[in-house]
């Protein structure tokens, strides 16, 4: 994971703030009438004309050159048609956008991306939650389980993809043999659905540890008094889980939902790139992969930029949704 909430946070592999932490980090979930700086500023501060700018300079320089400049360029070139041989470009208005949005191929990829994201998010969250609940429940071996279950967090997506390729290999893959036992002739890399299945399994596998870590720490943050009270009120473990524990985990779960969505959208690039083996034509790919293919293989600068901007809008909407939702529905103590 690198991730930020939104972005990198969202992009999952990076460090992400704790449950709800992102907005707390920004100081935004306080009564937000004043800008965060003012609400959270130190009572005492240094005053210096030059120094703060000096300290900020490296960070700002890098942000300007490697964030704002390319972002503005993406938006700009999404309105131009670039000559493939590099001889200038023509302003075409929103033609790149309408081309993209009318393309059946693009819409198909968008549909796959939506299904892929939903499935990866659902399975990695629920398996992560299940394991966290069980690991929280057992006393003996708790630490060992925890250690073993988080290993995979540290593995790079393309390496995970490579592991998947081996597990699903036509000749030596044990999972293909298991599938054959049930009469499923699995051809990962050749058959669209089989490849999609394998990609989802690998992407879920890679993301479980992250969810596990957050759910476990969320569970361990529930006060003993609350657990004991729940135990007295309700004998059934399952009902206790649904009515007491799960609502208390809601902030964590919502935070993870956003992180996992961004993970499935962006960070699975490496998994996909390794698993389609350069034969993207008859294999499922996601929107980010399509941006990459059109921009770097197809040399369609305008189309690729338009797609980038569409993705930016999706990420923005997700972020705003998260902000709104956290503000309104989820209460932290």
């Amino acid at each position: 994971m690198t991730n930020t909430t939104t972005s990198q946070a969202l992009s999952g592999t990076m460090a992400a703030p704790g449950p709800g932490g992102f907005w707390r980090i920004l100081g935004l979930n306080k009564s937000a009438s004043k800008p965060p700086e003012e609400t959270d500023a130190k009572r005492v501060q240094f005053s210096s004309r030059l120094l703060p700018y000096l300290f900020l300079a490296p960070q700002m320089a890098i942000i300007f050159i490697f964030f704002y400049w390319p972002s503005v360029q993406a938006i700009q070139s999404s309105f131009y048609l670039e000559d493939p041989f590099g001889f200038g470009s023509t302003f075409v208005g929103t033609a790149n956008y309408t081309d993209v949005l009318k393309s059946g191929e693009y819409l198909g990829i968008a549909r796959f991306t939506a299904v892929f994201t939903a499935l990866v998010t659902f399975f990695s969250l629920s398996i992560g939650l299940l394991l966290a609940v069980k690991a929280d429940g057992v006393i003996r071996g708790n630490a060992t389980y925890k250690t073993l279950l988080i290993w995979v967090y540290a593995i790079a997506p393309p390496v995970a993809g490579l592991m998947g390729m081996m597990m699903f290999d036509q000749h030596i893959g044990p999972l293909v043999k298991v599938a054959a036992f049930f009469g499923w002739d699995m051809k990962v890399g050749l058959n669209y659905n089989d490849t999609a299945f394998a990609m989802i399994v690998v992407s879920v596998w890679k993301q479980i540890p992250y969810n596990f870590i957050f759910f476990l720490s969320g569970l361990q943050g529930i006060p003993v008094s609350v657990r004991e009270a729940a135990l007295m009120d309700c004998r059934s473990g399952l009902r206790r889980f649904w009515t007491v524990i799960l609502p208390l985990l809601a902030p964590t779960a919502f935070f993870l939902l956003i992180i996992n969505t961004t993970y499935a959208l962006f960070d699975t690039f490496g998994v996909i790139d390794v698993m389609v083996k350069d034969k993207a034509a008859n294999n499922p790919i996601t929107l980010v992969y399509k941006v990459y293919m059109d921009g770097f293989r197809g040399n369609d600068l305008g189309g690729s930029s338009a797609q980038s901007v569409i993705l930016m809008i999706i990420v923005f909407v997700l972020t705003i949704f998260q902000f709104r939702f956290i503000e309104r529905r989820v209460h932290y103590n």
């Binding site: 946070a9 990076m14 964030f67 390319p70 070139s77 790079a156 490579l162 081996m166 000749h171 941006v291």
Partner: protein, 280 residues
């Protein structure tokens, strides 16, 4: 009661099997010969060719140019991981220090400009970022590999939050003692942030080491390949033959995962703390 506990253990063991099984299989299989793997499939028992295969993967010159060795790729991965983590920590500590401890005119707008970088991951602006790097002639350099990845301000927010939790009394006391901004930073802030720095370093190192898309775009010269970036290229060459070199492919995968996995394992407590509690 006893039965439920047993059931819990069964589920956890299945989880461990699902998560760790593939890694174990990869490790074990990498110690067999390619022909043997081709004949018998994957293996869960160690074979006799461990040293041989790993020596070959680390020192054999391969790739399309026939010049890149595993050792070289590992070096590049280390440079990327450490360079990224160190760069991130230095940049974000300085910026966060300015935001928290100084009163200055453009504080609010600066804050929002930094915040905005969190909204857009590198993946959505890869092509223009690449063009910028081309303009700056930074492709196939370590600078081009590391610096653009620093353009997201996650670290700044972690440190900002942490600095805000440091009691105001410390600054008051330091000022009474006559300490200026530099002295206060070096003598008070840095020592107080040690745990935070360690936790963020671990997370960022793993993040940097595992980068794939950006190195793929930035480096076409194989002497700059990292392990993670090189894996696909090298697989295409090796696995293309009659009897694919599965053992070497697995060995490479293991090499690419050992350093980050070890670091997460060894510093597990800091790692989890950095991940889940950086909002405190």
């Amino acid at each position: 009661m006893h039965r439920t506990k047993l059931f819990d253990h069964v589920i956890l063991m299945m989880g461990v099997f699902f998560m760790v099984g593939p890694l174990l299989v990869a490790l074990m299989t990498s110690s067999h010969e390619a022909a043997e793997i081709h004949r018998n499939g994957l293996s869960i028992l160690p074979g006799g060719h461990f040293v041989e295969t790993y020596t070959k993967v680390l020192t054999k010159e391969g790739g399309f140019t026939g010049k890149i060795t595993g050792v070289r790729m590992m070096m590049n991965s280390l440079i990327l991981g450490i360079g990224f983590a160190a760069g991130k920590i230095i940049l974000s500590m300085l910026a966060a220090y300015a935001l928290v401890y100084f009163r200055f005119r453009f504080a609010t707008i600066t804050f929002w400009m930094i915040f905005t970088t969190l909204l857009l991951p590198l993946e959505v602006r890869i092509l223009p970022s690449y063009e910028v790097m081309n303009t700056l002639k930074l492709t196939n350099t370590y600078t081009g590999l590391i610096v653009p990845l620093l353009a997201s301000a996650t670290g700044t927010f972690y440190f900002r939050q942490f600095f805000k939790s440091i009691p105001d009394e410390l600054l008051e006391a330091a000022r009474i003692d006559g300490a200026g901004p530099f002295k206060f930073f070096i003598d008070v802030i840095v020592p107080l942030s040690k745990t935070m720095i360690a936790a963020i370093f671990i997370i960022m190192f793993v993040y940097g080491w595992n980068q794939y898309l950006w190195p793929t775009l930035m480096t076409t010269d194989e002497s700059f390949f990292t392990l993670v970036r090189g894996i696909k290229q090298i697989l295409l060459v090796w696995v293309g033959s009659n009897i694919p070199d599965y053992n070497e492919a697995f060995a490479l995968a293991i090499l690419a995962m050992v350093p980050p996995v070890m670091i997460v394992m060894i510093f597990q407590r800091w790692f989890i703390k950095g991940l889940t509690e950086s909002d405190k």
